[in-house]
Symmetry: C2
Subunit: 240 residues, 2 copies
DNA sequence: TATGCACGTCAATGGTGTTGACGTAAGGTC
DNA sequence: GACCTTACGTCAACACCATTGACGTGCATA
């Protein structure tokens, strides 16, 4: 196979497409993100991306080895953006809450890329920086090392797992997404008290609660339980 | 459009395919599950499934409206298998722990299918039964309805999110999995204390802890925090 | 034994990612 | 300004994919 991808650094000959666009790795990543944002995950295909760029679809392969490489580039971009503007306050619980919610929110903005990114360890600079920051928050707060590590692990995995989980719902084709919402009302709303008494009794509450992500509350529970494990634990109820 | 799917209950005329197979919803689900397990999630296509069944690929559409409906059936099958043999003990915390760990374990046994299925709401019988059971555990334990619903939501989403997260790691091709573990040691094990002091200080602990899933500990934290929200809350430390 | 229709089959449609060949025009050199 | 070299945009083609409508066989029922 001919090596068709030239590393971004050594690119020199930029040549406009028939429609006048001048391609670059950066332009492609930004266009792809915009495409996903505006028209949903399903809109991201090589042909549509080519159309959006104003270029032949296969021009993409001069910049990325395949679509997976493109999606990893998107993912890297996301991780970077999630940390922009964040600074520690010194309150470990508020800091972890902010980091968790930011990561979650940023991933939700690009569900398709999030689905791929959340399950992978990249070892790239953005990722190591977040890890360092979380450990810093926990150790500075006075958690002993072994406990800090365990809490870090649960916290990070939970943030990424929920990010992927909620992204998956957003990344669903519109038809399937509508169907799922419908399933909740049609199926769960009509289960008879005889066979499913607890669902029947709480259905309105259920329907209301399931509309939003379970992550914020799960995060609060994790933080509250972690607080009770602190060597100088004080009364620190959920949500504090 | 002609309605082509006949509900499983009212099926009567079974007719062997050219290759002699007698199709059924159950056979299709089991074959699909086997296909995904043996050859990965990418192997699940209508054509390949037809070949594995010994039938014309489009015969599938006599049993499922589309591939998404099949996927939901797979998901529900996994949920069902996770519950086989479970019974309530009356100790809400032990019961939820058991349900969570069972779900997680069952999905890990079928990583490829778990990846596809863990994000979906099926509305099928196995799913509604778990939902009913979890709500029963919480309400019987004395949690008020609104709290029971919120805890249920966080608990279920956490279990499924972690199931998908950990399944993703298992589902990677062995080569890629080894490579990722290697990258982790190479990158995180060599970060200089100057730029990443907290990672450098805790690396041995980190490396040991990250080998296993973060779910069991995250689940304990959730249960411990939920216990403090109980109207008759007693001292109930993590892991009790 | 007769009959209606369930369902397995086939052909076709319009999508997808990806590859190899080709030629044009851009950059460097003189 | 002329000449090479080659990067890279384009094109055609391939092998898949899910899904559809039409068709007729042969089964279950009456």
């Amino acid at each position: 196979m001919v090596e068709r991808v030239v590393p971004e650094g050594s690119r020199q000959r930029r040549r406009p497409t028939k429609q006048g666009a001048v391609l670059s790795e950066r332009l492609i990543v930004e266009t792809a993100l915009r495409l996903v944002e505006q028209h949903g995950a399903a809109a991201l295909s090589v042909r549509r991306l080519g159309a959006a760029l104003g270029a032949d679809p296969t021009a993409l392969y001069r910049y990325f080895r395949n679509t997976d490489a493109l999606l990893l580039a998107l993912a890297d971009e996301l991780i970077g953006r999630a940390q922009e503007g964040w600074t520690a306050t010194g309150d470990w619980r508020a800091d972890l809450r902010a980091i968790g919610l930011r990561l979650h929110a940023r991933y939700q903005a690009h569900p398709q890329a999030a689905l791929l990114a959340a399950h992978r360890t990249t070892g790239r600079t953005h990722e190591t920086r977040v890890v360092e920051r979380i450990l810093a928050v926990l150790r500075t707060a006075g958690f002993p090392d072994d406990l800090a590590v365990r809490i870090y692990h649960a916290f990070v995995d939970q943030a990424l797992a929920f990010a992927a989980q909620d992204a998956a719902a957003l990344a669903l084709p519109p038809a399937a997404r509508e169907k799922e919402a419908e399933v909740w009302h049609e199926v769960y709303g009509r289960l008879p008290p005889g066979t499913h008494p607890h669902i029947a009794a709480t259905f309105p509450l259920l329907a209301a609660d399931m509309r939003d992500s379970g992550y914020p509350f799960a995060l609060e529970l994790l933080l509250a339980a972690a607080a009770t494990l602190h060597p100088r634990a004080q009364a620190a109820p959920v949500g504090e």
